[in-house]
Symmetry: C2
Subunit: 220 residues, 2 copies
Amino acid sequence: MKSKISKTAVVLLSGGLDSAVVLCLAQAQGYQCQVLIFDYGQRHKQEVACAVKITKASGCAYRILKINFPWKGSALLDQKIKIPKKITPGVPATYVPARNIMFLSFALSWAEVIKAGAIFIGAHAQDYSGYPDCRPEFFKAFVKMAKVGLAAKHRIQILAPLLNKNKAQIIGLGRELGVPFNLTWSCYRAGKKPCGECDSCHYRAKGFKEAGLIDPLIKR
Amino acid sequence: MKSKISKTAVVLLSGGLDSAVVLCLAQAQGYQCQVLIFDYGQRHKQEVACAVKITKASGCAYRILKINFPWKGSALLDQKIKIPKKITPGVPATYVPARNIMFLSFALSWAEVIKAGAIFIGAHAQDYSGYPDCRPEFFKAFVKMAKVGLAAKHRIQILAPLLNKNKAQIIGLGRELGVPFNLTWSCYRAGKKPCGECDSCHYRAKGFKEAGLIDPLIKR
């Protein structure tokens, strides 16, 4: 028996722009958000620090989940692999095998414990050109798996509200919602300002340009 | 394109009896096993220590993955929840929400990195009376999700070879395979000898009795 949907939500927050928009959107939709941040050996801790700042600005509660990965296999985990400077077709070097599967699994566990009715994730169209675990068919299959894999009697939705939006649309939505873009960090490198070279910087710059907005992180 | 099946396998090992049997079985089937052990804040570290001993006895390589759970919700993680003394119907207090989902997600990630063709897990019939993520329909759904969630071009099978066996059959199989039962630990409590009271002890004792064997952990 599935009871009525709880208005508590687990929100996966990376410190980047997309998940910050999702957090504000979930709040705007009336969800009481519990933010889940992963400290999983990313190249830089700036991402985690930004996620905490964004959460604090939102007034939501949060948990940081620390994972010590005993293997590498991605430019985001392994300092020896170079961050690609150009946008290339196919799976990027920054792909972390099964990352969303792992992150969503923890979100499921927490959602079951706190009886949350939804899990929010910031995956979007541009992601799934390269990352298999950002594709709509993946989320569909994950939901089916979760339905039979949990003891929870309440329904837990997996919501990826940006899935069909491009970066410019996400930034436009973020602007409407009052997302603190100045607290977000998209660059694959740490630093006082974004490198402007990695594909994440490329996408962010293109998005702001197309949305007709100025990125507060870029001095003019 | 799915290429031929790799004979490297990721084996999830808990330190208990079931996964020890699975490890020996995978080796007997010709797999080169890479053992994955989780240190996730279990009630006692004895489980992890036993898993390491079993792996060393097998001669396989292993990795310990440490996870700092920032929430509780199970008698296995929370010292405040009592370990049940009786076997009760339904989901037991020792259920850890989404545990197998999380563990298998990490196994998927590692399997993709090392191009393993299989993941072995020791789930079995008695488990799935209470734990939803031990049921055959869960594994079926997990496999479907993994197929669309990974970038891996090679096939990764999820194998739960004990799924239709009871404890006595598992112990019988372990005996044939030469499993070092003396190194395994099933009790939910730590100690010099098993408590003999928790449901895990009950099942183990019943299994040895039905298999007509003597548990090397129990002094007579």
